[in-house]
Amino acid sequence: MQIKLVLKEAKRVGFLTFCLLFSFSVLVFAKEARPSKVEIRKYNDSRYRLLVNRRDYAIKGVCYNPVPIGEGYDYDFFNDPRKPWLVDGALMKQAGINTIRLYQPSDDTEAVKELISDLYNKFGIRTILGNWLGFWNYPGPCYGDEEFCQCVKEEVLEMVRTYKDEPGILFWVLGNENNYTFDGRIRPWSTEEIDELESPMEQKHERAKLYYSFVNQLAKEIKEIDPNHPVCLGNGELIGLEVANEVCPDIDMVGVIVYRGKTFGNMFKGVKNYFDRPIVFIEFGADSYDAYLDKEDQGMQSFFLEAQWVEIYKNMFRSKEGEGNCLGGFIFEWTDEWWKHNEYNVQAWSEHDTTSNWSNGAYYFDIKAKNNKNMNEEWFGIVGIKQSETEGDLDQRIPKKSYYVLREFWKNPAKRIREIKNEKKNMRR
């Protein structure tokens, strides 16, 4: 009798357990299929938090464009049957990276979705998706031209409609360094009305106004389609943001592209003054080649990157020091790109070029290089690449010193920041 009772009880418990597990898995499955709810909350003193499904989210990101050795600007990694993101995702996860930046998705939407969902489901890595807003269109952008703007708008809204339900999406980025077109030095554009203005400063201001108004219109329409993901304005430095402040009420955050060496300087305060939104560094970093000594220097790169991350963390919401308005950043970049020095020389795509392309005194270790050209475009990865011994295989991934330094940093940023402070104190003694 007792045995019967026990068996009956066991069956009941088993059934209940089964029901619970089933409900739980349904819930989990349902959660996976839903887009994440990504919000920005504002607090006193213009401090900001990024919340993903109501949880704090510090963006530890990388710009992702894994061009293999021998390939160039036209390589479509989304359609690479070797799926490089599976190897990269595992390595990123080990380092603590939780987000990637894709500058613009390819036309093959299914391939893009596969990448986004693979990274999210297998490694918990989210994606921010951007659009160049016609910056590279031929013959050039013109934000005063209705037809051009309509064309760009359709493309952007289509991107949002296509990917908004992907659980791995974190937010949208509109533009990159399009603000550098305002003074006509790159990708110049204008309108008849602007050209009639006498002062070039006024012309510049009007271009900025046209452009940022257009971006705001995009943001507004994105939100009608997708209430779950914030919209970020991509901007070179803080240039032009005082104009954006007049015409961009629908922009949720500013994503800046900055190369300022070991410190971002007054950037966090500056944003508060000119465009009070949270700031995320959508592109920043350092190269690992010493152009002066003409040799690789991974220590130099890790020195700058760690210093930059220290400032990012000091200015996040949780930090007691700093401005509390930083959401994180995206290091430029994940892997080295061997095609970049001379994009038109296909043969050079197979060589890791050591010629410097540009000068930046903020990266001062090698600024005494010839003509002060110290920035090596092909050496910005925190992971190096090497041709695989087996033909057709993915290039080998060789993490650089920065990879390991950042992996340690992200394990406990507060502790590492304290250590660095103590190291500085001891040096002064």
């Binding site: 006498e198 070039p200 300087g265 007054n266 500056g270 005194g361």
Partner: protein, 380 residues
């Protein structure tokens, strides 16, 4: 009892000795006291800039501050080597620009003092420097002060060296004069140059500068705080005259810039930074705290009108030390009449500024080149 007495004696003796040791003063370390003093540790061997403009008499007996001799420096301001400035480094070993081992460990000393006067008063030393010799055997510190306007009476001046690493100093003392501050030359006397220990001295905290604070007012003004030393891009396309007397906005002189747009260096653009100290691209801890400033204003005109300057700028130098912020206006099309321009600094962090002012333009917007004038550049 005997034991207690002897212990007390030993203890008292120990106390006495340690008191004596602590009380012992750190001896001064002389650069120059008298010509024939065996205690002079550096030689005036490092002649710089327009060295042909300088005459040095280090056994002048006219009116020394102490002892039998002083140093008399006669500067003609004739720009013999076309540099516009001249100076002398007191070195050890002599003629050492960092290739020879020498120098001294001056740890424990925290101030350099010297006596100085001008023959007539109002002579200007643009810079006094301790350390800063580079090369294989580089000095461990580099500190400078200036400009200093002298009087006709002996006065003591000092360089604060607290918290500086003085463990290897081969350039003990340097003075620099320039032709802009001394257009008619100058006769300067120096005496009793020495490193001392001042226990009351504290590290010099940078305090916010009082306004107005000039980048440039007149070429010979001691109130100029930055030097137009940072030539950029096609620097060969630039001719600079900082004592131009052609219709200045105010005072005797203005700055005249002639940009030829020849792309001499192939850059197709050119520009210039006013820096502190000169040639500082962020590798020297220099600059000023201009936190009180809310604007930088300046006057500018083009020779013909229509000259286009892409940007006028404050700050933005980045290096080991970086300007704390940057602000700019532009593009600006100049008229042929003086016009005042203003760079808004409200909300900017001006606490550390090495690049006080800059301009930049290019050949696309000035295909025939441009001649333009700037005057009264001032933080307000």
């Amino acid at each position: 009892m005997k034991k207690i007495a002897s212990f007390t004696v030993v203890a008292l003796l120990g106390l006495f000795l340690s008191t004596q040791l602590f009380a012992q003063e750190v001896k001064p370390f002389n650069v120059y006291t008298d010509k024939n003093s065996s205690d002079n540790h550096f030689a005036p061997s490092g002649w710089m800039g327009d060295f042909g403009d300088l005459r040095l008499d280090d056994q002048n007996t006219d009116n020394p501050y102490s002892g039998g001799t002083a140093i008399k420096i006669t500067y003609s301001g004739k720009r013999s080597q076309n540099q516009g400035w001249a100076g002398i480094f007191w070195q050890n070993p002599p003629n050492n620009w960092g290739s020879k081992k020498g120098g001294f460990d001056l740890t424990g000393l925290n101030k350099l003092t010297f006596m100085a006067k001008g023959e007539n008063g109002a002579e200007a030393i643009s810079k006094i420097k301790v350390g800063g010799i580079k090369g294989q055997y580089a000095d461990t510190a580099e500190v400078e002060i200036g400009p200093i306007e002298l009087t006709s009476e002996w006065q003591e001046y000092s360089v604060n060296l607290v918290d500086e690493d003085l463990s290897y100093i081969s350039g003990g003392f340097a003075f620099v004069v320039n032709a802009d501050l001394n257009p008619d030359g100058a006769v300067i006397y120096l005496d009793d140059i020495k490193f001392v220990n001042d226990p009351t001295l504290k590290a010099e905290a940078k305090s916010s500068e009082k306004l107005p604070f000039y980048v440039y007012s007149d070429s010979s003004s001691i109130g100029n705080h930055f030097i137009p030393s940072g030539w950029m891009g096609d620097f060969g396309d630039i001719k600079l005259k900082i004592n131009c007397e052609e219709n200045p906005y105010l005072g005797k002189t203005c700055v005249k810039i002639n940009y030829s747009a020849e792309a001499t260096q192939g850059a197709r653009w050119a520009g210039m930074f006013w820096q502190n100290p000169p040639n500082n691209w962020g590798d020297i801890d220099g600059g000023y705290d201009l936190s009180n400033a809310t604007a930088l204003t300046f006057w500018a005109r083009g020779e013909k009108g229509g000259e286009r300057i892409e940007e006028f700028k404050v700050g933005g130098i980045m290096g080991r030390y970086s300007d704390s912020d940057t602000a700019m206006i532009g593009p600006v099309v100049l008229t042929n009449e003086w016009k005042q321009y203003s760079i808004d600094l409200k909300g900017k962090d001006m606490s550390y500024i090495m690049g006080g002012f800059a301009w930049a333009t290019n050949m696309d917007v000035n295909p025939e080149g441009a001649v333009f004038y700037i005057d009264e550049i001032v933080f307000e």
